[in-house]
């Protein structure tokens, strides 16, 4: 029975269509795995009753889409009607939305089954899932026989852990600076952040609105293509949602990349890059070349300014977005002393409800937007962002179809290892991923190999805007060459 949760979405879909398995069986298998996996801290709100009802409905519905009957995990950042949606924050304690996010509405309309809500960094601010009010999510991978618990990455750490440990067939994630791709790389799974505007942000708790995009986290590229199609599409409720047709991404997976040009950006070869990551990147380059692609050395000269620009823009938008958590309309309100007025209510509520990283970013954002600093910080960062985007436009205009880079500067690190580090050290995790958020481009992380400690490492492909189909196909070709099949040894 437990084998069923190990299925890929495509395999389960085909088995369901042939009548070899039912959604109820698949869902029960996942629920039973979830019950045994509390040590991973992945599922933070379990919804077995909802799941079984949805599974029965899927089994009765012969007309569902590709995801009909497929059990998924949903990141806690997505509002799900009547089910706790806290963005892993204390300030949304007890919040049960009266509405359903567009992404989950579309997934459920396709027939997908929700198993529960997944752990994450608070308000998606973090790279290790250690800022969650629920406690850490844990990586199913370990360094050989070392007992140390490792981070699954962040912010979509629960999603990554759940998919890698076969607690579900796929999961939703969101990515503001790398929050799908870094955890995917740390756990040996696939995750794609689509072009900004491809997936509706409506009903997804906002962090930095000009950077946030949702996407799938899955066991392989085909599953990402299937899930992304169901998540994508124009939504009048999100004014930045693109009014473009959604192609059949799965149909784009031919594996034929002959004649494509792959760019290798020299700025991503950082000083002190571990030898293993450098070699993996070279191997991936050779594989794409062997598959018939042309390799081209390129330059993206403003790369080093991406993280500092991000750490102005993202906190600025967060300080504005998170102003709504004031103890009035939803979530936590602090207990007040006699004589406390509305200002004390705001200040105490936000001090109690937000964790330290969120407070830090809200205050940095407040500072860079404050009178006298707006031009020096915020507007300058937005101009640097335009230059970063132009770097990409230039290489695409020179005929580059996709760009290959490492996904992360290291493999998964130990939970707690960054506890005393300067916050900037944690931010460096996103050095390879954050550029695509700033430029709005699609990026996909594909598991590529294991390091000397037996931990997964990923490669990233960055594509042209709106060409997720082409990007997924290049990733598919790379996946076929890499043949990554390793799985974590079960300890939970």
């Amino acid at each position: 029975m437990s084998e069923l949760s190990k299925l890929k979405i495509s395999e389960a879909r085909d088995a369901l269509k042939k009548g070899e398995v039912t959604s109820v069986e698949l869902t029960q298998a996942c629920l039973s795995e979830i019950e045994k996996a509390d040590a991973l801290g992945a599922f933070v709100h379990k919804t077995p009753d909802v799941a079984m009802d949805m599974a029965k409905a899927a089994d009765a519905n012969k007309a569902g889409g590709d995801l009909n009957g497929i059990p998924l995990g949903i990141k806690d950042l997505f509002c799900t009607k009547g089910v706790a949606s806290q963005a892993a924050s204390g300030i949304l304690e007890g919040f049960k939305p009266e509405y359903e996010s567009t992404v989950t509405t579309q997934l459920f309309a396709d027939g997908a089954v929700m198993l529960g809500k997944l752990n994450m960094d608070e308000f998606a601010m973090g790279s290790s899932n250690e800022t969650s009010v629920y406690g850490n999510a844990v990586n199913p991978w370990k360094r050989g026989n070392d007992a140390a618990q490792l981070t699954p990455g962040g912010s979509s750490g629960g999603s990554a852990s759940a998919v890698a440990a076969d607690l579900c067939l796929g999961a939703t994630g969101t990515d503001t600076g790398g929050s799908i791709r870094q955890p995917a790389a740390f756990t040996g799974i696939t995750g794609i952040k689509p072009t900004y505007g491809r997936v509706s942000r409506w009903g997804v708790v906002a962090f930095a609105s000009s950077l946030d995009q949702a996407g799938p986290m899955t066991k392989d590229v085909r599953d990402s293509a299937i899930m992304l199609k169901a998540m994508s599409g124009h939504d009048p409720k999100d004014s930045t949602s693109a009014d473009l047709a959604v192609p059949d991404f799965e149909a784009a997976l031919t594996g034929d990349i002959r004649g494509k040009t792959i760019g290798i950006p020299k700025e991503y070869r950082m000083d002190g890059m571990p030898e293993e990551i450098s070699k993996l990147w070279d191997d991936g380059t050779t594989m794409l070349k062997d598959a018939g692609a042309t390799i081209k050395d390129i330059s993206l000269p403003h790369t080093q300014y991406a993280l500092p620009a991000y750490y102005v823009i993202a906190p600025a938008e967060a300080s504005s977005n998170l102003a709504r958590y004031d103890g009035v309309r939803f979530g936590h309100r602090a207990k007040l002393e006699a004589g406390d007025g509305i200002t004390e209510m705001y200040e105490k509520t936000r001090a109690e409800g937000f964790g330290n990283e969120v407070k830090r970013r809200v205050m940095i954002g407040t500072y860079v937007l404050s009178a006298g600093f707006y031009d020096a910080y915020y507007n300058r960062a937005r101009k640097v962002r335009a230059l970063i985007k132009r770097d990409f436009e230039n290489v695409f205009a020179d005929g580059v179809d996709a760009i290959l880079t490492p996904a992360t500067p290291s493999s998964a690190f130990e939970l707690g290892a960054m506890k005393d580090a300067d916050p900037v050290q944690m931010y460096l995790n996103d050095v390879f991923t954050v550029t695509t958020n700033l430029a709005g481009l699609p990026g996909i992380a594909v598991p590529a190999g294991l390091d000397k400690n037996g931990l997964p490492l990923g490669l990233q492909l960055i594509g042209r805007p709106w060409e997720e189909g082409d990007l997924l196909n290049t990733a598919y070709a790379l996946e076929q060459s890499l043949q990554f099949v390793a799985k974590p040894n079960r300890w939970w």
Binding site: P236, P308, V328, L336, I342, E347, Y367, V384, P423
Partner: protein
């Protein structure tokens, strides 16, 4: 750029987050580290560059200015920490 305790106190106040006096020095240090990192942006020549607004040029969509939703008072108030008689209740604002 180094942030002093007075600036940290002012930013906390602007952000409406209560920070105990004893935690302000540490907060000021963290701000200084992050802003030091951000300072790198001053190296970039941004003369004549327009701030980025969207991935592909598109006008923000407009919709007809008509009522298309409403009548959901109960749903709107459902998650309020304190709702009374159809309103959100807060401490006294006006003296």
């Amino acid at each position: 750029m180094s942030i002093d305790i007075e600036t940290a106190r002012r930013v906390a106040k602007l952000a409406r987050i209560a920070v105990p006096e004893s935690e302000l020095p540490e907060l000021a240090n963290e701000f200084s580290a992050i802003l030091g990192f951000i300072e790198q942006l001053n190296e970039v020549d941004v003369d004549g560059i327009e701030p980025m607004t969207s991935v592909t040029p598109q006008r923000l969509k407009r919709r007809d200015d008509v009522v298309n939703d409403g009548g959901q008072q109960d749903a709107v108030l459902k998650n309020a920490p304190d709702a009374r008689e159809g309103f959100f209740a807060v401490p006294k604002v006006v003296e």
